[in-house]
Amino acid sequence: MSAAHAELRAASAEVRPHWWRLLPSRVWTFWVVELYRIRHDRTELYTRAIQPALWLVIFGETFNRLRVIPTGGLPYLDYMAPGIIAQSGLFIAIFYGIQIIWERDAGVLAKLLATPTPRVALVSGKAFAAGLRAAIQSVIVFALSALLGVSMNWNPLHLAAAVLVVMVGSAFFSTLSMTIAGVVLSRERLMGIGQALTMPLFFASNALYPVHVMPGWLQALSVVNPLSYEVEALRGILVGTPANLLLDGLVLAAALVAGVTASSTLLGRLAR
């Protein structure tokens, strides 16, 4: 023990990784912490599975019979399942900023910012932690879909690709949430704005119906809605509908970069 103490004095500042190694290192760290959190409390994982289950069972089964939505010959449940997977991630991520406001109020954020962690790395770490939680949630929705007889492509490579898409998409929505957190600085206002945002994000997308049935102005909204690209990619990967996977991936990646930039710029307001 005392030998260790003797080292204590000058041992700090012994490691100075380059900034390009800090980013993946911090993302990995916040991933592991998120896994620890999930291990300590799994109830949230189950309670958050209720809403997608209800969408699939109530909305999905009904519209499966109605056959009013042009799905290109797919059973409606199959068409809708990727949309619900994306939605379950969106709902987790869009309120993720609440955690950062809580951390601000509790002094945790000050402590994190006083560590050698660039703001971009901190925000990226948080974003991918949200993405990981959403990805784990999506696995539960995959299982629900299987139970309901959705015929998806169960090839493990396709499933892995789908989980990756959910992770990146949800990471983006969490940076959107953290950006709003940096503007409104209060949990209550973030709750309100988050709730107001989820509806247009969800319904002005291709999650429940194809874009071409929408009025023109809503179609325009859907074009700039990253959720549409996430759903298109998921649907292409899981159900085999036509999808421009390269474009989808690029849009999601660009949105994530923009979101990380915006929220790390505004992080200073929270730290003040």
């Binding site: 490691v15 911090r26 620890y36 050698p116 962690t117």
Partner: protein, 278 residues
């Protein structure tokens, strides 16, 4: 960076742990800091003492690189806190005023997080986390959720988080605020042990006279954003006469407005801490 560059003049003139010059900062219409000056020698336990709103926490926030000051410089082991923020962060262990451990994790996981954020080498991670927990007497409780910890245990856990990096400077903002007397004594004891074993430099803020008296080698008395007196507790007392206490010194320099001078923000965060301690 080389050892020499990190500690210029290390062989000839000992670099002070903290050098604070003409530090000023304004929040809107409030002049929070108004030319703060003090120097903390390497290995000292140095206290910033003052009423709420005196500028102690603002000084700390500048020092730990969280706030960029309007004017003046702060150097930590010779490194400028604005221009060399990353290197300064690697040298400092910081415990903020609020109880800030993550309740949804275990004690071990809380310390692990900070070991990772300070880039403790992978091969040493486990032993360093355990070492920090052991230093604070938390080995037994290490794998319990922090939600089950007492207020004093949370504070010691935060010290462990700050120590896992083996910092050269430990910065404690109101380390015992809201703690009961037993828990306060526990924190004091740990800080004193740490100091005796490692000779680590400690900078702390407090508005408790007994804490300042017992723990600190030297004190800077702060009032309205300035350092109004700076000396050892003994000499500060002597300067006012044989029987003077630190309370008398405090009252002499700050007037009788101890109660009225706290800002709303301070009170709010103190209440938050108190609430969390139950």
């Amino acid at each position: 960076m080389s050892e020499v560059a990190r500690r210029p003049f290390a062989e000839t003139v000992p670099t002070p742990a903290v050098e604070c010059r003409e530090l000023s900062h304004r929040f809107g219409s409030v002049q929070a800091l108004d030319g703060v000056e003090f120097v903390v020698g390497s290995g000292e336990v140095f206290g910033l003492l003052g009423p709420n709103g005196a500028g102690k926490t603002t000084t700390i926030r500048v020092l730990v690189t969280l706030l960029r000051p309007d004017r003046g410089t702060v150097r930590v082991f010779g490194l400028d806190v604005v221009h060399n923020a990353m290197a300064v962060r690697r040298a400092i262990g910081y415990v903020p005023q609020q109880l800030s451990a993550d309740q949804s994790l275990s004690g071990y996981e809380n310390v692990w997080l900070f070991a990772r954020l300070f880039d403790v080498p992978r091969a040493q991670l486990r032993s360093r986390v355990q070492e920090a927990l052991a230093l604070m007497g938390l080995e037994e409780a290490a794998h319990r959720p922090v939600a089950t910890y007492s207020g004093g245990m949370v504070r010691r856990l935060e010290l462990a988080q700050a120590l896992v990096n083996r910092p050269r400077l430990l910065v404690l903002d109101e380390p015992t605020i809201g703690l009961d007397p037993v828990a306060r004594a526990g924190v004091w004891q740990r800080v004193q042990e740490l100091r005796a074993r490692t000779g680590m430099t400690v900078l702390l803020t407090t508005h408790y006279m007994d804490e300042a008296d017992r723990l600190c080698d030297r004190l800077a008395l702060m009032h309205r954003g300035r350092v109004v007196a700076l000396d050892t507790p003994a000499r500060l007392k002597q300067s006012l006469g044989r029987t003077a206490t630190l309370d008398d010194v405090f009252r002499h320099y700050t007037g009788s407005q101890l109660e009225e001078s706290g800002s709303f923000r301070d009170v709010r965060s103190t209440r938050r801490t108190a609430r969390r301690l139950g």
